[in-house]
């Protein structure tokens, strides 16, 4: 099966610090991959390079066979808006917007009318256990609820790949467990691939396989039993 997203020989330096030293990584359609490693190992840098947020110093990134790392910022930006979804540890929701408009925003940015965007956004609320919370603002949601809104927002554009950076880092164990289950299930149900950066083996356990990054190098890759 062809890879949906593939990074080849990726390197990245920040001053004297080597964040990535020739990393190869590929993700298949519908696959969930966890990137693990200690703080400062380069796992977030790898995610940002794969997601087109950051350009690697060398190497290449391809999405569905098309090279994206040499695209201009405008095209990469459009790509992130339409083909990728993002879930982060905290702060990714706009505090001024109610939950349904937060979810609808990526669709509106893509040109969908507001009414249609909000309607389609709201369809995600009940399946994610957020029924009745459409009009709440992020400050009025619990941490777990806010992460589920973020999952809805990441998936509403039907992306090819969802990137999650420590998605349960700010949640207690039970809520984190529920959130990961919802993230993996909803992503797969949507036909998207998932790349999760985490240092928590419990979180990584929800993924199909785990890769470990240490000192900018991909050490090992293992499939879930």
């Amino acid at each position: 099966m062809n890879d949906v997203l593939a990074g080849r020989a990726l390197t990245k330096r920040f001053g004297q610090t080597v964040a990535l030293a020739g990393v190869d990584m590929a993700v298949r359609p519908g696959e969930a991959v966890a990137i693990m490693g200690p703080s400062g190992s380069g796992k977030s840098t790898l995610l940002h390079c794969l997601a087109g947020i950051m350009r690697p110093d060398s190497g290449e990134v391809r999405l569905e066979g098309t090279r994206i790392d040499d695209m201009g910022e405008r095209r990469r930006s459009a790509l992130r808006r339409t083909r990728f979804g993002f879930v982060f540890q905290f702060g990714q929701l706009l505090p001024e917007l109610p939950a349904d408009e937060n979810v609808a925003l990526p669709l509106m940015l893509g040109g969908v009318t507001r009414a249609e965007a909000v309607r389609r956004g709201r369809e995600w609320f009940a399946p994610l256990g957020l029924g009745g919370m459409e009009a709440r603002r992020p400050g009025e949601l619990s941490g777990g609820q806010a992460q589920r809104v973020a999952i809805a927002r990441a998936l509403v554009t039907k992306p090819a790949v969802v990137f999650a950076d420590e998605p349960t880092g700010a949640l207690d164990q039970t809520t984190g467990h529920d959130t990961m289950r919802l993230l993996v299930e909803a992503t797969k149900h949507n036909g998207a691939s998932l790349i999760v950066v985490t240092h928590d083996p419990g979180v990584a356990g929800w993924c199909d396989r785990t890769v470990e990054v240490r000192d900018g190098v991909l050490l090992a890759a293992g499939a879930r039993a």
């Binding site: 400062g40 190992s41 977030s44 930006s77 459009a78 706009l94 917007l97 509106m108 603002r137 400050g139």
Partner: protein, 665 residues
């Protein structure tokens, strides 16, 4: 301990933290410099009034008289000369007037430096011959302004200049009066200028205070999350307040000092603004050291107080800032405050005291400031409800989320709009004068018109000035030959002495010089001379309007620029994440623009209307084209300034969103 920790946090704020600190410092510096100017204006007019008081004699009354004093106006090259006649009473040794080393002896004259210079430059027959026995030059302490043209003539107590009746009109001069001293009292026009100065100060000070308050909130806006974190780890409300005050005061004190220095550097330029016929002495625009010190101390203290007010939410609840909740709706009672003021203005404006005018303007200002955030919130709800595109939706939601912050961005222009609306109606047009300088007129003592006319003919003939001299009742009219007729119909209709004409300035001044002393105590004047005072005060109001609007604009634009930049810094995490998720920079920028322009259009327009409404009771002439043009230019410049100032922070927006994930992890 608190101050030490505050200082370390201030220094350790990072590049962007320091940028925010510099913005606050800059805002306070601008506020302080303009505040000093607004305060100095009042002291400057008061100093002028005091220095000019000695020419406005007060009758001795029951006190023993020591001298006789009278004043009138003469003219040269279209400028006004103040002529003060002084005589010591027999056996008395009055104190000399300010600027003279001794009391002038009969026959001698003392000229101001500007008049002496002019007399030296012009041919003697045009000016110097009017003052044949010059004894010296007046010192600055006797002058209203450095360019003032004034002559002090010593007379005998029984000289005709001090015994003949003069015009009773205070604009023309003052009757001979026996005085106990030359202290005098401020003239009516000096007091009029003080009133205008006070109005200008109020119009400038209120936006400045609002701006200063906004600057203080900037400090808090950047710090509230950090201070909330301090509360979460156990800092007491007192410690949080102390640290906030310390930080705001440290930055504001530095800003106030910088503002004082900036003002000091600007004073030489400001002295060139010509009001009431001339520029200013540097000392006039230099506030008393106590005022200067008071301002430099008061500004940081007010900034500290404003910062504390902004921090109430943090102090009350450590989670108040950490958690973003639906903000409580602004209370409509704010609107009631504005309505109350609008109802009160026509009622209280029936009085004519200066204090009342200042209070009315101040109240209107404050009510606009009170109602502003409420209206911004309302505009935000309407914008959000009607938004179809992301930029307008974001803008509308942000306005609803933090209407006070949005108001801070536009409040400067809104308050300037009030000033423009107020002054747009008040500012009179140019006086519809005749500009007739072809005829000189002087009143002769009763029954002596023919004699005076003959004397005039003789003098003019000797001086080689061609003129036709006629009489009309007791008025002698001298029509200068070779004057150019004025064709303007309006001027012809208003002319007192037949067809109006404009004489060559040199010929006119030769005639004036030849006729000096023709009728003791009276000056032959043209109709243009008689219109001089009216034209000058209207011109001065126009200059004052430009000065006030310029200051208001500076405040508005600085305010818009600083709050826009600060807003980018405050929202940098949100902006960065939006860009990370693929939001184009243009969408973010459009949202920012809409967030400013929508309330600006509504509030700016509203404030102009309120200003115009408040100005109606004080109108002295019909609204005029000049006022309307001033208003339109003001609105256009205000919008352009705010948009431009907002655009300046676009590179900052690009910078804070350029690398949304800088961590090398």
């Amino acid at each position: 301990m608190n101050v030490g920790l505050t200082w370390r946090l201030l220094k350790g704020g990072g590049r962007r933290g320091m940028l925010g600190t510099w913005l606050t410092l800059g805002a306070v510096a601008v506020s302080t410099a303009l505040l000093l100017f607004a305060v100095a204006v009042d002291f400057a007019f008061a100093a002028r009034a005091d220095r000019g008081a000695w020419r406005n004699p007060v009758a001795a009354g029951s006190r023993p008289a020591v001298a006789i004093e009278a004043s009138r106006h003469d003219y040269v090259r279209g400028r006004e000369i103040t002529v003060v006649d002084l005589a010591a009473l027999p056996g008395r040794s009055p104190e000399p007037p300010p600027g003279l080393p001794r009391f002038p002896a009969p026959g001698e004259v003392w000229l101001s430096p500007a008049l002496a210079g002019l007399a030296d430059r012009l041919p003697a027959a045009e000016l110097a011959a009017r003052y044949p026995k010059r004894a010296g030059v007046l010192g600055d302490e006797g002058l209203v302004h450095p360019d003032e043209l004034i002559v002090v003539a010593g007379r005998a107590p029984d000289a005709p200049e001090l015994t003949a009746a003069r015009s009773s009109d205070w604009i023309v001069g003052s009757q001979p009066v026996k005085v106990a001293s030359l202290a005098g009292e401020p003239t009516e026009d000096a007091e009029g200028y003080q009133v205008l100065g006070l109005i200008a100060s109020v119009l400038m000070v209120v936006p400045l205070l609002v701006f200063g308050g906004a600057a203080a909130r900037l400090t808090v806006a950047r710090r509230d999350q950090r201070l909330a974190a301090l509360r979460l780890v156990g800092a007491t409300p007192g410690q949080v307040v102390a640290m906030t005050v310390a930080e705001a005061v440290i930055v504001a004190f530095a800003g106030a000092l910088a503002g004082a220095v900036a003002y000091a550097l600007a004073v030489p330029l400001l002295t060139r603004v010509r009001i009431d016929g001339g520029p200013w002495f540097v000392a006039d625009l230099w506030p008393h050291p106590l005022v200067m010190a008071g301002t430099v101390v008061a500004v940081p203290l007010l900034t500290g107080l404003s910062a504390v007010a902004g921090l109430r939410r943090v102090v009350v609840s450590p989670l108040g800032v950490a958690k973003r909740e639906t903000p409580p709706g602004m209370r409509w009672v704010r609107l009631l405050a504005l309505v109350a003021v609008l109802v009160a203005v026509p009622v209280v404006s029936r009085g004519d005291s200066v204090g009342l005018i200042a209070v009315v303007i101040g109240l209107a200002f404050l009510s606009i400031n009170l109602v502003g955030p409420w209206v911004v919130g309302l505009i935000g709800r309407i914008t959000a409800a009607s938004a179809r595109r992301p930029a307008r939706l974001l803008a509308g939601r942000r306005l609803v989320d933090d209407p006070r912050s949005a108001w801070r961005t536009v409040s400067g222009v809104a308050l300037t709009g009030f000033v423009a609306g107020f002054l747009g109606l008040l500012s009179p047009g140019t006086l519809a004068g005749t500009q007739d300088t072809g005829h000189l007129r002087v009143s002769a003592p009763a029954g002596q018109a023919a004699t005076v006319a003959q004397e005039a003919r003789d003098r003019l003939k000797r001086a080689g000035v061609g003129a036709a001299v006629t009489t009309r009742k007791d008025v002698v009219v001298i029509a200068l030959k070779d004057a150019t007729p004025i064709t303007d119909e309006d001027a012809r209709r208003r002319a007192l002495d037949g067809a109006p004409a404009q004489a060559a300035p040199a010929a006119l001044d030769r005639a004036r010089t030849a006729l000096t002393g023709l009728v003791p105590g009276r000056t032959p004047t043209t109709q243009a001379d008689d219109e001089y005072f009216g034209g000058q005060i209207l011109g001065d109001i126009a200059v004052g309007t430009v000065v006030v609007l310029s200051v208001s604009f500076l405040v508005a634009i600085a305010s818009a620029g600083i709050t826009a930049a600060s807003s980018v810094l405050d929202r940098r995490q949100t902006y960065a994440l939006l860009r990370l998720a693929g939001t184009p920079l243009e969408v973010l920028d459009r949202a920012r623009r809409a967030e400013t322009l929508i309330p600006l259009a509504v509030m700016g327009g509203g404030a102009i209307l309120v200003g115009a409404f408040c100005g109606v009771p004080f109108m002295i002439t019909d609204p005029n084209l000049t006022g309307l043009v001033t208003l339109i230019v003001c609105v256009a410049a205000g919008f352009a300034g705010v948009v431009g100032a907002g655009a300046l922070s676009r590179p900052l927006l690009r910078s804070v969103t350029a690398d949304p994930a800088p961590r090398p992890d």
